[in-house]
Symmetry: C2
Subunit: 396 residues, 2 copies
């Protein structure tokens, strides 16, 4: 049935397509498939036992509030906890700069809702997070992709894009262990990016879900650290350092921008789960939050090592891949004559899965990359999966 206008759905829905990754998940959830596809953290690292005690404490001491409606900006002690952690990184910030979201995916979607008119330009890395493309797409932006090298977005290319697109709405970047490439933006470029954003009068959306999951090397300050004009909007989340199922993330920005996000939330879904917000703070009070993150880091580091070692051994030498210093992903580059989709089809037959690279390019057209997640599977499965994948690659 359609009404007399001929189309039941809003035309933005033409730009809302199934998430490639989420659809793939359905295939890869068979128990005998070794999946390097999803961005799911390792479940054995969730503090389920501790969370029993956390929930009990929250409900016993604060049950009536934990189950009730709460403020759209978020639970005040959680805002303070996050502001404290960000201050520790040298950022000048208070609870008033923090807005709690249902994961940083919601931060992405609200950012587009706040900023993007149909046809507005969004400048992003090439490639970029497929979920950001999915969050932005309903607001019908145009994407201008900026090439990257091993130090992240290339600043000369960014400036060219800014000059060519004077009305661009924001620069979207994932500076730490980028999804999908695993590449980290250098400190120098972070500073330069803020300078360029200031010069060309454009907001920066800094998406840092993996920033705290660094295995080695010098800790770099967030892009927000260099921001003196209030032009960087930082998106954070507890999904990779704690528990994604709780859906707790945040936006850190100037209070006048935060107020706009709050208005969006009042209309969209009122607030984040009151109990979940208290669970995060109470876990941090009862246990050692950084100690928990360090456990995740240790585990993912071993898994990264296992995967990269296995790739060195099992992959043909004409296959290149990145060496991430943190996060969840490595990015594989195939020789021009091998197509990622052909590898994918044969890999699925061999019961190993990953995400072909094309969907990470908002304007499409890539055929020769794929993304591997080393965080979800244990070392044994990683070695077995990479061995299977190596065999597939050798046949092509």
């Amino acid at each position: 049935m359609t009404n007399s206008s001929g189309s039941r759905y809003a035309y933005r829905m033409y730009n809302v397509k199934p998430s490639a990754i989420r659809e793939l998940m359905k295939v890869t959830r068979q128990p005998d498939v070794i999946s390097f596809a999803g961005g799911w953290p390792a479940p054995e690292l969730f503090p389920a036992k501790e969370m029993e005690k956390v929930c009990q404490k929250v409900l016993k001491e604060d049950g009536a509030y934990a189950l009730q409606y709460g403020a759209s900006e978020g639970y005040q002690p959680l805002r303070e906890f996050i502001a404290g952690r960000m201050s520790d990184k040298g950022i000048d910030i208070t609870a008033d700069n923090i807005f709690i979201t249902s994961g940083s995916q919601q931060g992405l979607e609200y950012s587009a809702k706040l900023l993007v008119n149909e046809g507005d330009v969004v400048i992003c890395e090439s490639p970029t997070y497929v979920g950001a493309i999915g969050a932005f797409n309903p607001y019908l932006p145009k994407y201008v992709e900026v090439p990257m090298d091993e130090k992240g977005m290339i600043m000369e290319e960014l400036e060219k894009a800014l000059i060519e697109n004077p009305k661009a709405k924001f620069i979207y970047t994932i500076p730490d262990f980028q999804n999908p490439t695993g590449v980290t933006m250098s400190g120098e470029r972070r500073k330069k990016l803020v300078e360029l954003a200031g010069k060309y009068g454009i907001l920066v959306i800094e998406d840092s879900p993996y920033g705290d999951v660094r295995f080695e090397g010098e800790k770099l300050p967030p892009i927000k650290y260099y921001d003196k004009e209030g032009i960087v909007v930082y998106l954070g989340t507890f999904s990779k350092t704690f528990c994604p199922g709780l859906r707790v993330g945040w936006v850190a920005a100037e209070p006048d921008i935060i107020r706009k996000y709050v208005l969006i939330k009042q209309g969209a879904d009122l607030q984040v789960n009151s109990l979940a917000q208290r669970e995060v703070v109470t876990f941090a009070k009862m246990y050692d939050f950084d100690g928990h993150v360090n456990k995740i880091i240790d585990s993912y580091k071993s898994r990264r090592d296992a995967m990269l070692d296995a790739m060195e051994k099992e992959f043909p030498t004409n296959i290149k891949f990145t060496h991430p210093k943190g996060g969840l992903f490595t990015w594989v580059e195939l020789p021009k004559h091998i197509k990622a989709m052909d590898v994918f089809e044969k890999a699925i037959e061999a019961k190993v899965a990953f995400v072909p690279g094309d969907s990470f390019f908002p304007n499409g057209g890539d055929k020769n990359h794929f993304r591997l997640n080393y965080a979800t599977m244990n070392e044994e499965k990683i070695i077995e999966g990479i061995t299977r994948l190596g065999k597939v690659l050798k046949t092509l």
Copy 2:
């Protein structure tokens, strides 16, 4: 700072205003104010003690999944539980018809995102839920308001609106104990509404947050019960029958429509809190869900009685108000010469709060109504608050 286009924010933000109710909340949260303003359920009815056991069970038996990412459509046993409860109302429905949302507010927002192009007509009751207006506004609809009487939306007026607006996108209705009026749509009109929607080829969004909170009188089937063509989208929630802080609601619709909602969720916030979804199902397994709802009904019924009795005694006789058979609200009509905002200002001085009626009319212009919530305060406070309010009204 604005970029060179002159405006930092998307133009939809001109239509995103502070929620009157949420802003009022700030005043009314002072402990000595008796507030009949918010739509907040009575917190002493939350099963906090039981929830301790529920959380423990979920985390012990299913911790790795309860803290992990999950399916965008929702946790399968919760979808089945909801489908079962709706089937008990005579609706032909399975889990495939159910999509889990972060409260029914999110169902409203997604419905607009799915259906509304700028300038599209939304047909609604006059007055209607202020939060629905807030959810729809960013998508820049036009509102056509249909007058109500004591049996709900007047069908002749609805048909007139449908004829005058052949491209209208959907009819939005709250048939049960409507917010703000407390009015319930008659069974005959529910059937007629579905007939008219079918005849004019338009979807119906049936919003029923209070449907299960009936104090007395015959239970009426949801509008969805009469729907044989799959044109009714039903929005439900556990916020009024269980715990709003968990943010768990649902959409019930045809599977092809459900798939579109799922696509929106994949881009917007991935999924609802995995732990919260399990908490609802596990509570229902461990305890008597309907028994819990009956406790809420008993409590709210006493409070409604206390409020209506006090209003009969304390209000001047030229003040009219509705006699709701369920839900949380009564709707007060003032004589033309008394303005709700004047009453509000004097009431705040007398430390009693409510929501002036104007914001419930999407096209504005009302001066002579206000909404009272009888569910949050206990009988003693209700009587004291209504007495204060009666004094204010007598001075005007």
